[in-house]
Structures are given as C-alpha cells and as structure tokens.
C-alpha cells in the first residue's frame, strides 16, 4: 500500500493536485480576462465608429450646402469632388499606407447631376456600378449612418444620406474606414497575443508555485509512508520560513511522530522489561522443577517445588500489577467506588505495617486525626498505601523516620509520605512513576510507584515526588474529596519534625506511633 503511495507521488504531473488547481484557476482567469479584453475592444470599436459616423453626418451636411449653392454646371462635379476629397483628408484615421487607405464615395441622384458618383481613391466602372446598385437597393435613412455591404468590397461601407431639397435627389456619402478597421484588427491581435501570454504565464506560475507548495505535502506523505513501513525515525524536513499552514502541518506532524515514537519506544522497553522480569522467574521455576524431578531426596524435592511456587507468585504479581497499571494509565481501570474514610484506611494499613517498620528500626508516624471522606475503591487504595509504605521499607534505610500526613483542603485530600532517607538520585526523580523504572540497587520490579500514580489518576487525582531540601523524599497523592467542606490546609513544614505536634513521644521499645482521633 505504501509503495503504491510513493509511486503515485513520483507519477505523472497531470494527476497532481497542483496541476488540477492551476488548471482550474487558469480557466477562470482566462475567461474573465478575455471578457475584459473583449469589452475594451468593443468600447474602442464603438468609439471609432461613432466618430466616423459623426464625420459622415457632418460632411454630408457640408456637401448638401455645397450642392445647394453650387450651380449645376460643368464644374459642379469637380467642385463637389474636391470638397469631398478635402473633407476626406481631414479625416483623422486617414493613413499614408496605401493598403490601409480609406475609401470614400459620394453619390448624388436626381436632376442628372454629373458625375453622379465620386469615389476616392478612384475605382473602375464596375466597382462604381456595384456601389450605385447597392445604394439603390438599400434604404438609407437620413442623418444616421448604416452599414451597407457592397459586392466586391470585403468590408461594408458606412453610409449616410441627406435630401438636398424637397422633391429633388439625395446625396449619399459612404466611408469604408479601412484604417480604423486595420487598427482594430491589430488591437484585437495584440489583445489576443497578450491574453495568450498572460494565461500561459499565469498557468505556469500557478503550477510551479502550487507544485512547490504541494511537494512539501508530498514530503509529509512520504514520511507517513515510511512510518507505515516501520521506520519510526522518519521526519519531514522543513524550513521555519515561510511560517505558513504547511509549515504548521509539518511541525505538528513531526511533533506527533516524536510522541508516537516515544511511546512506541516506551512500549518496547516496557515489553523488554516485562520479558526480562518474567524470564528470571520462569527460568528459576523451570530450574527448580527440573532439579526436583531428578532428585530422590524427598525433602530437597519439596524445597525445590516450594521455590518454584514462590517464583510463580512473583511472576503472577508482575503480570497482574503491570496490567493494572497499564489499564489505569489507559483510563480503563474498573473502580468500585464507595464512601471511604482515608484516615481510617491509613491507620489500618499503618497498623498492618507497623511491625515491619520496627524490625528495620524505622519510625512510622501517621498524622491522620480527622476523618476525610472520599469516594474511593478501597481495594486499590489499600494497595496504593501498602506500596507507598513498602517503598519506604525498601529505600528509606535503616533507622529512617517516616511520616504519613493526611490533610484536606479545597475539596482535595492529600496523602504525603516523607522520610529522611537518602532521597532519589536526581536522574531517577522524574521517572519514578514510570513502569519498570528502578534504581540500580533496587530489588523491586519497578511497578510499585507506577501503580500508585495510576490509581491516583484513575480516581481523578494526581501523584508527585520531590526530594526535600532537608534531605529525604516526599511522595504525595491527591484525591478529590468533594464531600468535605473546604478548610485551610493544616500547616506542614518542609522540615521533618522529630516528633510532630500533638503526637506522643514514642516510648522506648515502641517506635511506631499511630495517632487516631
């Protein structure tokens, strides 16, 4: 699946999103710019026609005056012709280029005026006949120009007519504005070439910049594909600038990969530790049982089997606790909450552990005078407390003073366990709550404190650990205790008091104090 994705990435340009996006935007751009060009062209063309039309109308009036005032004699035609020619020269768009020369005709019908038609530049008689025929067959209104196609000419003439006098003939003035037409054609051509260039340039720019941008997304895809094939070290290379959406995507993606690979590594080391921690008991079970099988000494055999059973107990505890911790961390621990008095629980667990502390000449003092009610799963709480105390038994050292403080404030119950032992090594401090984290000299399986934190979290609480300034360590857990009215936290100093206030001084031989209300 992932190799297919890679193939698609390196595949044809035509299938890329960059291509499609560029094409779409280019089509819209091309259509709208063509529309604008055409509108501009239409405007220019209309202006030019209006101008030549107004010239035609004005000139026809002049010619009408000339026709009325000039006697119809032999020179009439020449006069009219000259006037027409002069007028033609005034025409702005007249070009010196012969091909682009405008064609103007003047025609007067009625009263046998000779010559009835004057054309500039001069054309042959057949062309003249065609003009006259066209004029006669079309109905040209007065004082407004119309287009009149004439056979033999590519372009139609703009023609105006004017009555010379009532009853007499009409004067027709026609103009074929070739220069303007050529100018418009050139304009159109220019527009078209410019438009094509613009569209192509725009399309190329769009494709290239989109391709550049989307290539960065492809990099993300490639990295994801690599992750899919098991290479967790794959990351997306990216620059800080521009700090745009894709840079943010890339950063987020990389952060996500960091987290995933961290938790996968954690999982790996977890499985490694579990496997390692389980292998030793399994090996010793196997060894003991094998030896028991091969010995004839019934007592030795019994002893070996007993050892195997003890190893199995240890094994089953590792499995149960690590699953509990994993479940609690995943938020899937099934709790049977019931109203519980934490002070009572602490007293009971402390009583249970009292002999163990006194055997190590450690002093265990609990300050849990007032009942603190909370909704808790007592089975887990008892194990949490016993884990905390066993942790002290193991690590606080011979003769250490251990203080368990229960306090309550702002709807939270806090249990703090303090000692004056060696404290945690700095390197271990921030990972004591991790599964299978344990000191070099530790004999535990590294699950005790992980379980403590997991239970606290499962109850909506938290756990912390810190080395005290005065030496020693504090491990604390906190639970919501909403049933209780908020009251100020009982003052607890950071220094470990030799004997807390209101606590009887321990009698000789009785070095465990359990205070109760």
């Amino acid at each position: 699946m992932f190799s297919r994705i890679r193939r698609r990435i390196s595949g044809s340009l035509y299938r890329t999103a960059a291509w499609r996006l560029a094409l779409r935007s280019t089509i819209v751009f091309a259509a709208s710019s063509a529309l604008v060009f055409l509108m501009m062209y239409g405007l220019v063309a209309r202006t030019i026609r209006e101008r030549s039309d107004s010239w035609l109308i004005g000139e026809s009036e002049t010619l009408k005056q000339v026709a009325l005032t000039t006697p119809k004699d032999a020179v009439y035609g020449r006069i009219v012709g000259e006037v027409a020619e002069l007028a033609t020269q005034e025409f702005a768009f007249d070009s010196h280029d012969d091909d682009a020369a405008n064609t103007v005709f003047f025609y007067e019908n009625g009263e046998g005026a000779e010559p009835p038609l004057w054309v500039s530049p001069s054309v042959g008689p057949s062309a003249k006949a065609a003009i006259i025929a066209s004029l006669r067959s079309s109905n040209v209104p007065e004082r407004s120009a119309v287009s009149m196609p004439v056979p033999g000419w590519r372009m139609p003439f703009r023609v105006v007519s004017v009555h010379v006098s009532p009853g007499t003939g009409r004067i027709y003035l026609g103009l074929q504005d070739t220069a303007a037409r050529i100018m418009l054609t050139r304009l159109l051509l220019g527009f078209f070439i410019g438009w094509i260039a613009m569209v192509l340039f725009g399309f190329l720019t769009a494709v290239l910049s989109l391709r550049g941008t989307l290539k960065r997304i492809d990099a993300v895809t490639t990295a994801a594909a690599n992750i899919g094939t098991g290479d967790l070290s794959s990351r997306v290379a990216f620059a800080d600038k521009p700090n745009d959406e894709i840079a943010r995507l890339t950063r987020t993606f990389n952060t996500m990969l960091d987290r995933i690979s961290a938790s996968v590594n954690q999982l790996r080391s977890l499985t490694d530790s579990v496997a390692h921690d389980m292998k030793s008991p399994i090996t010793s079970v196997r060894g003991s049982l094998e030896a028991a099988l091969s010995t004839d000494d019934a007592n030795l055999s019994r002893e070996l089997v007993a050892r195997a059973v003890e190893s199995l107990d240890r094994l089953s505890e590792i499995v149960t606790t690590s699953l509990d911790v994993a479940e609690a961390e995943a938020g899937a621990l099934r709790l049977r909450r019931e109203p519980s008095d934490l002070a009572d629980l602490i007293r009971r667990v402390a009583e249970l552990y009292a002999p163990a502390f006194s055997e190590r000449r450690q002093t265990l003092t609990t300050i849990a005078d007032k009942p603190v009610q909370a909704m808790l799963d007592q089975r887990f709480l008892v194990r949490l407390l016993s884990n905390l105390l066993e942790n002290e038994l193991r690590y606080a050292g011979e003769g250490a003073k251990i203080l368990v403080i229960l306090s309550e404030a702002n709807g939270h119950a806090q249990i703090r366990v303090r000692d004056d032992g060696p404290g945690f090594p700095a390197g271990l401090l921030d990972q004591v709550f991790q599964r299978f984290a344990k000191g070099d000299t530790s004999e535990g399986h590294g699950l005790g404190l992980a379980f403590v934190r997991a239970v606290a979290l499962a109850h909506g609480g938290r756990a912390w650990v810190r080395n005290l300034d005065t030496g020693g360590v504090e491990i604390g857990v906190e639970f919501p205790a909403p049933g209780s009215a908020p009251e100020p936290l009982s003052p607890v100093t950071d220094t470990l008091p030799a004997h807390p206030p209101n606590t009887p001084v321990p009698e000789p031989g009785n070095d465990v104090i359990v205070t109760s209300s």
Binding site: R302, A306, E310, L312, E317, R334, V349, L352, P355
Partner: protein, 224 residues
C-alpha cells in the same frame, strides 16, 4: 459433602478435583455449561466451583440460570479476568465468592469451607479454642501456652485466633489479610510473614513443639 466442579481446562479441573477430594469432598466434574446445568439441577450438590469462561456459555449466565431454577448451593467463581466484573462482585454480596487465577489450591479449599459454613445455619459459637497445649479464651482475649500467659497485641491475638480456627488447615497470606485485617489484596505482599514471625517468637519460642509452620510457597498452618 458433594461438590460440582465446572472448569473447561482439563489440567485445572483435574488438580482441583484431586485437591477437593483430598479435602474430603465427593466431586462431580465437567467442562461444559450444559452438562453442568443438568448435573446441578439434580440438586445433590452442597457447593459448586464454576469457571467463568466455558466453551458453550458464560459462567455467570450459568449461575443465573441455576439460581432461577431454584439451585441455592453456594458458588465459588473462578475468573481469569483480572478486573473483577461488577456482576461477580454482585454475586459476592449475594453470598457467593470468587477467586482470580492464578490461585492457591489451599485457598480454594478454605473458601469452599467458608462458603459451606455460611450456608449452614448458626452453629453455637465457641468461646475457647484449644490446639495441643495452646489455649485461647475468646471472651477475655487471653492466650496461654502450656499454662503460661502469652503477651499478645490485639493484632497478634486476632492472627492466632484465625490460625487456631483453621488448625490443621493451610491458610494463605491473602486469606490472613482478608480475615484478620479485612483487606483484600489481589497481589501478594510479604507483610504477613513479619506478623507470623513475631507471633511465632511469642508462641513457639519457649516450646520444643512448634505449632505455627510455614508451608513454603503456600502459606501457614497451625497444627500439633
């Protein structure tokens, strides 16, 4: 006493059968829910051991079917599921009991006995317990060994009382925690060893006949 053992794993079924037979029960064993149902409906069993995962039905469903058909014998539930199901806890409140795998065989037998005691109506409560030359006065909370009074703390007396009540029978660490300290630990802790060690120092130190014995890997037994 006649027992019904319903467990689909043949190895577990066989060692359970052997253990409860040795403990003096008559045993019927089967590995399927439907067989178990027809056997239980005969109404001849005093207690049942039922595994929750059976090939043809859920153990809890089996228990509910039996209960709805009038079978009242107490049930010891065996569960491989770690987090104990709410419904199992409900049954526990209803007078039955459960054990999670792996379990000690001694504990199965002990819990069975406890279940049967619970289901048999009031026996007159003893006020004195005696094992060999050890004597406990349950009313005055005093213990004597060979005529000499033992100076015991309340905890130590409670522990010794529990061992005496189960004299001759193995008790596991978790049974001790459960009955003496009323704390149910699902994992093992060796804190009980410390208490036993202290108690043994007081009960057995001056005697050439030690009563409290450690059963390696299982628990403790008090016997002559």
């Amino acid at each position: 006493m006649r027992l019904l053992v319903v467990e689909d794993d043949r190895t577990i079924r066989e060692f359970l059968t052997r253990a409860v037979t040795e403990a003096g029960f008559r045993v019927d064993a089967c590995g399927r829910g439907d067989e178990a149902e027809s056997q239980a409906l005969e109404g001849v069993h005093d207690a049942m051991i039922i595994d929750l995962t059976l090939p043809d039905m859920d153990g809890l469903d089996l228990i509910h079917r039996l209960r709805s058909q009038g079978v009242t014998a107490p049930v010891l539930i065996l569960s491989a599921r770690r987090s104990v199901d709410e419904r199992v806890l409900g049954l526990e409140r209803g007078g039955d009991d459960y054990l999670t795998k792996p379990f000690a065989v001694a504990e199965v037998v002990a819990r069975l006995r406890a279940l049967l005691r619970r289901s048999t109506p009031n026996q007159p409560e003893a006020t004195r317990l005696r094992v060999a030359d050890l004597e406990l006065d349950l009313i005055r909370r005093e213990a004597h060994r060979g005529g000499a009074e033992l100076q015991l703390t309340q905890q130590e007396f409670a522990l010794l009382e529990y061992l005496c009540r189960n004299a001759g029978r193995v008790v596991t660490r978790s049974m001790v925690l459960d009955h003496v300290w009323k704390m149910r630990f699902d994992t093992s802790t060796n804190i009980v060893d410390v208490h036993i060690h202290r108690l043994r120092n007081k009960v057995d130190r001056d005697s050439d006949r030690p009563l409290i014995r450690t059963m390696r890997g299982v628990g403790y037994v008090l016997k002559d």
